[in-house]
Symmetry: C3
């Protein structure tokens, strides 16, 4: 049985159903639901590799709203929409009337008359991003029930203050591919560690997403950061609970070296302390520019105490056989390349550079799978239909 | 006979032909032409509801040029283009060389080599928007005749200084749907009234569009505003003439209460006085920032005298059985929601909120109908072909 | 044999193969390769005129990166992508993380997972644009070889510091069409001359592109400019070599009048001196705003000495029978229209205005041909397939 058939079998037998549902947090989803997403992503990748079109919408919009800069996710979202036949329409607050006080409820409906998917990145304000996405979802729900919208668009979280599911799921698919299977991940140690960066205010959603997801696959997840660089406490509870349920473990430590010891995978990545993000959010809302400058200054000073939190060759030697897989959501702060001193040394990054590119390469398919499963009741049947239809993506 | 067939029958028998024509002002169009637009819009809505693709272009561009902010119309235009198979390409003056003095004539041709539709919003400058659209249309006409363009793109007015036909036509379709038929609108009283807003400089095109269109359907149209808040005189003449021809009436008054009395429909909406818009246009052209600030200040002071021009529960009681239909082009200035004191009270808006969303929901289909009728010689045949082809919009 | 068939015959017999190749400079391409591009462009234009769809991608992205303003090329690129079925996704440095130091290598891969074409305009910095495009191409090559990318997107130069091949090829197709054949261009004199403009810093790529391409067709190419307004020396060498090989000639002079004498074609167009562009690039990199202001001032003062370098009726009389074809890449600085004194007089421009529009009209097809030939191994077979498939671009 070829890979495509295997994927379809798993989807069929999975009993998961994501039809009509938003994708906001991985920990709101069942194991079967996450497995469905991964297999649909793989099936789409298979079809693409065979030059078989995966277009399943003749027309329809996929709205993207980026409340923070983005290149990778923007292109992944555009690729995902395109491979299913949807057209991306940007909701740009700069251009739109949202900036002038229009309510979320109203705008959500106004942009959705012929919309299938709304992808949102909103990671700047702690306590706000996830809340905003739920508000949009509720507004769409009401609009659909009241007959305003002929269909209920699904919301896909393209990064919020709490989770970054399209990243963590792509990372998981990369691990599955790298180690051969999800089963093989059991017992593997992953070190999700803070790393030094000369910038400040990086979101918490990547480390939170990783500990919230990887703990579900029986892995030994170790979170390490300098004292004070805490994540949102609720997410740590999620990770603990997940680890218990999956037969893995979850540990928090304050040493990069300890975390790297015997690790199969390392994920060194900078973030701002939870408490700083809270303060920053308040200052941003208050438009307190001086306060923000002071905060940035004090944070950078504090960061600078931890310049030794760099993923270098020396620390990599501590990992399993000195050959742990290095992961990053990109772009990394590479010492001597993109900054003087950063998250990772030049030589370590170069060794794993191509792997990090491949890691990123799963994202368009993960997003497409989230879109597809939210809009089609029977993804297995749909994928089979695509295969049988055998419409060439590139003519010839 | 189902709704779709009824629509097709009316289109066939209507003897209207909009092929190759721009859509700039509703009062340039015959009754039969407007009726065709509405029926095509309804037919497209029917097909969409049945998951039948309305794609009629394999490729082709729909250019949009927004010289003022827009969310609703931008998404309606994108949805309309998409449902017909056209790809939106934005002409952004910020990005483009128009900002550097390039002539309208040249740009109009340069963006049109493979373009079917050009949608323009240009409502900032009194005396300029409609004129600009005609210039674009003339340039396209010349380009087509001279063999520069293989086809003559049609210009669609997405709001100018004079009219807002995609809004007023969507409003009319909403009324038709709400009251059951165009016939049923005869004798109904609609109060198009000014309303207080804490902002200034809102365009005149919505009230002008409403009085210019609704007077054609035998309605009793009453325009009410505080002294000095006049509209463009020529449009009032159009409304008077229309009312006479249709057996309806057109009246101008200075009392919101009087206008609401016995009204079947109320449309309370802020706008700037005609004379202010003239002054403002001169100041904008002269780039006189101090003058603009002074003007804004004096206008807001004047506006503030009319805070009682709010659509509240008390005034709604004056309407027919206290149950007039409230309309708005959105976003409304809602007292206690989007501003302290505004066009409409919170409770009145909330009661009709879903209705205003539905009102807006007709716009993508109205725009698509304007596009379709300008590019296809026999819309009835085309719509029938779509129905028979029965290509699923969403696969499955 | 009709035109379409003739085009296909030439493509078939041409033995050129551009599959998998970037299009950066015309002088990197063989005569057969350029001929293939032109014939594919003409075939696409034929099919479009017959309402036959030229869609050959069901899905896929065409990324555009404009590092300088653009209307014409932006729309030409969008039209080209659209006619082949590709969706344009903009890489906007303002929006993206490139602005924050991300390496070219990484971004090139991140935007390319489902991308077929990357079109780049980068003409601001002398020594940088062409170099950047090669870097992108090398990154894509690596990504494809390492299995990061399932396909190798082709880079298309939409204007760099050295060449502007989509412009010069469109110009050549215009000449072929105007004079009846490429053969007919032999012995024709083309005057590529500097012209006065009240602006400064215009790129060198148009005149360089013209002398680098037109010298290949046996033409008498005369480049004329005021002393000091030199182009990049290497490109002059290319032009000399080409002229020798094709049996034409290449001459550099310092008189507009001399260049116009007996010319069959004149192409008067402003540019900044090579040395100024070098200085400007250094100042731009150093972000030296005062230096840039001083440079602009001194350049404009110098420009002003050459206001007589205007293409006017008097000079046109010097040309072959006083009837040389006037060419321009648009927008032209037209005296008394877009500026007080400029590149061309109002009457001369008006006489040839429609011709310059037609000249521009070849660009979308040239770009589409560059895209198509880089992605399809057998363009002749593909075009025949399109013709036989006979899918209507506009339904009906």
């Amino acid at each position: 049985m070829d890979n495509f058939k295997k994927n379809i079998e798993v989807i069929k037998n999975g009993k998961a159903n994501l039809y009509g549902k938003d994708f906001l947090l991985t920990w709101d989803k069942s194991a079967a639901e996450l497995e469905m997403i991964m297999h649909v992503a793989e099936a789409l990748k298979n079809l693409n590799a065979e030059n078989i079109s995966t277009k399943c919408f003749e027309t329809g919009l996929a709205v993207s709203q980026f409340r923070d800069n983005s290149t990778r996710t923007r292109f992944s979202f555009a690729s995902a929409a395109n491979m299913l036949g949807l057209t991306v329409q940007d909701l740009d607050e700069g251009k739109s009337q949202i900036a002038h006080g229009e309510t979320v409820r109203e705008t959500s409906n106004m942009i959705s008359f012929l919309t299938e998917i709304i992808g949102i990145r909103d990671d700047m304000y702690l306590g706000a991003g996830h809340t905003y996405m739920k508000e949009v979802a509720d507004s769409l729900e009401e609009g659909f029930k009241e007959g305003v919208l002929p269909q209920r668009p699904a919301v896909v979280n393209l990064q919020c203050d709490v989770d970054h599911p399209t990243q963590s799921m792509a990372d998981l698919l990369h691990l599955k591919n790298y180690f051969g299977s999800l089963e093989n991940l059991k017992g593997k140690k992953i070190a999700m560690t803070w790393a030094y960066s000369p910038s400040y205010g990086k979101p918490l959603s990547v480390p939170q997403g990783i500990i919230g997801l990887m703990t579900r696959y029986g892995m030994e997840v170790e979170l390490a950061y300098p004292e004070g660089y805490d994540l949102i406490p609720d997410v740590l509870k999620v990770a603990e609970k997940n680890a218990k349920a999956s037969g893995g473990s979850f540990k928090v430590a304050n040493s990069m070296e300890d975390a790297f010891k015997n690790a199969d995978i390392v994920y060194p990545k900078s973030w701002a302390p939870y408490s700083v993000m809270e303060t920053r959010t308040k200052l941003l809302y208050a438009n307190d520019k001086d306060g923000l400058k002071d905060l940035e200054k004090s944070c950078l000073t504090n960061n600078a105490k931890f310049k030794n939190w760099e993923c270098d060759a020396e620390k990599m030697k501590l990992s399993k056989n000195g050959e742990a897989l290095y992961m990053h959501c990109l772009p990394a702060d590479i010492s001597g390349v993109s900054c003087k001193e950063g998250e990772v040394s030049k030589d370590v990054f170069e060794k794993y550079r191509i792997e990090t590119y491949k890691e990123a390469g799963f994202k368009p398919y993960i997003i497409a799978a989230m879109m597809l499963t939210s809009r089609f009741n029977d993804p297995a049947a749909l994928l089979n239909m695509m295969k049988e239809r055998n419409l060439k993506r590139i003519l010839g």
